[in-house]
Assembly symmetry: C2
Homo-oligomer: 309 residues x 2
């Protein structure tokens, strides 16, 4: 099958390539950044998805069977600093993508990747979060993701496009930047183990999140593309809540350093959900099963950071 | 007080001006189109709200106390034909507006006008629709309106902007284009009365809507600006459902022609809500009361079309 991957140069893009190529699929990528380190079999176009004409050109030339839309300005923090940039680089690029498909005669299935941030403020009684719970976005990023999901439904129901959606929870794995909390912990732990810093610095360790190994995330994406129903939304999550304290303990054990840390008040967000855990029941009903637990995921991240430091 | 009105050249804009000027307020307008027939006291800027720099220049120069954001590509039908245009000319222009206010030091209250379309498919048990019912947008236009409302909440809660929102139901009154159903009925009825056409042509007359006189709409907007709570949403509606059949009967009686019509299958939308009626309880709690009933509204529209034909 022929896959077009937007945002192929990112963390998840690399794992998608590793998932799809060995199965004999053709993989074509587009990204703002020139992809580094991808196998030669992957053809990539360097372009902005804000350029609707160029995007349509690529889609019409490639004629993909499937599009996995990973491209996104995906940081909540950045979205507060640059709300317009965030909105345009999420919702408007998605709109350009679906419009390019609609206005050509290409029959392809599109995966629209969303976020658990769409749920907004989560009460303890709301977890595990199910897909039917109304969204209540509380950051510019979350607003953009909800709009993308609403557009997916409208393009699926109204124009007959074949679009399946996810709400993806926190993922982790090799290649993840240390702007994300777990990758930052692992990096710091490896640095402590090499005597490069005295202790790990962190924010609140009490918050509970639902972490998925990125290798399971890309397997789930393929499963949703294989078996998902057009216009439907699927949580991609482990279904299990883990506190950051628990995660940090595992990391320290894996790296072989004492469980010690310094808390920095600046790293504690003024408003944050104490607990976010998703239900993956709907995904499981498609036939999906997780292959990697938290220990596996952290092993992979530790090995990767060890090669970097 | 100093008001800035976006989309001042439109149907509602003219009524806002008529509402505000006699109270001694200063009214400044911006619009894509050059306003025609506005009183000389109203200064207008002709510009696109997509031009973020020009928009901010105007806002900084004017330093309004209140902004009423009427500018919108507000046709559901058009949004299906030109989804990207519709989205950009609703959500992105609103984003430019709130970003201009956020990035300057201007303290002003903004009225974000939304639509009953945001509710989406409405079951008979859902009416009268209350503001807390989850939105489920089913057209590109409705998606754009929901995104605008979500952005309003995020800018209000996250950046402390003072924004109040409405979900406005069908309005009618003098100056309304015949792209809207009731204005089209009145125009046709006046034409029948003058022997310019044999009969009124219409689609389904069974659908039930909640109609508000535009003069009450602009009074409600002022009330929401006076007393509404920042970040909150207020339905602007009559709270009463009326079938198009009932409306057409009133129109024929007012114009003095027999109640006769031809139904055109092309005018019947394939998917449409049979009944949309809102609850105006929240608006009433601010101290609002309707001043014009359907008969008044139709009188006004009939008089206006009589001057045109």
């Amino acid at each position: 099958m022929k896959y077009l991957i937007t945002g192929i140069s990112g963390f998840v893009g690399a794992h998608i390539v590793r998932q799809l190529l060995p199965q004999g699929h053709t993989v074509i990528g587009v990204d703002l950044a020139m992809p580094v380190g991808l196998p030669k079999a992957v053809v990539s176009y360097q372009m902005s998805l804000m350029d609707a004409v160029a995007l349509k050109d690529v889609i019409v030339r490639v004629r993909p069977d499937r599009i996995i839309h990973l491209a996104s300005a995906s940081s909540v923090g950045y979205s507060w600093e640059k709300p317009v940039d965030c909105f345009v680089n999420n919702t408007n690029i998605f709109l350009n993508l679906v419009e390019a498909v609609r206005s050509s005669d290409i029959k392809c299935r599109i995966l629209s990747v969303g976020s658990s941030e769409e749920y907004g403020p989560v009460a303890p009684t709301d977890v595990p979060l199910k897909e039917e719970r109304p969204s209540d976005p509380m950051s510019p990023y979350a607003v953009a993701r909800v709009a993308q999901e609403h557009l997916s439904k409208v393009y699926a129901r109204g124009y007959g496009l074949d679009i399946v959606c996810t709400r993806s929870f926190n993922h982790l794995g090799a290649g993840q930047t240390d702007r994300f909390v777990i990758s930052s912990f692992v990096r710091q732990a490896v640095e402590v183990s090499k005597g490069l810093r005295p202790k790990i610095t962190c924010g609140s360790l009490d918050i509970v999140r639902d972490f998925v190994d990125v290798r399971d995330v890309v397997r789930a994406y393929e499963m949703v593309l294989d078996k998902g129903i057009s216009g439907e939304i699927y949580n991609v999550c482990s279904g299990r809540g883990v506190s950051l304290r628990e995660v940090l303990e595992v990391i320290c054990r894996k790296v072989g350093i004492p469980f010690e840390f310094t808390q920095d008040a600046h790293l504690i967000r003024p408003i944050d959900n104490p607990v976010i855990v998703g239900s993956n029941e709907k995904l499981m009903k498609l036939g999906f099963a997780l292959s990697y637990d938290l220990e596996h995921a952290i092993d992979d991240l530790v090995s990767w950071w060890k090669t970097k430091i």
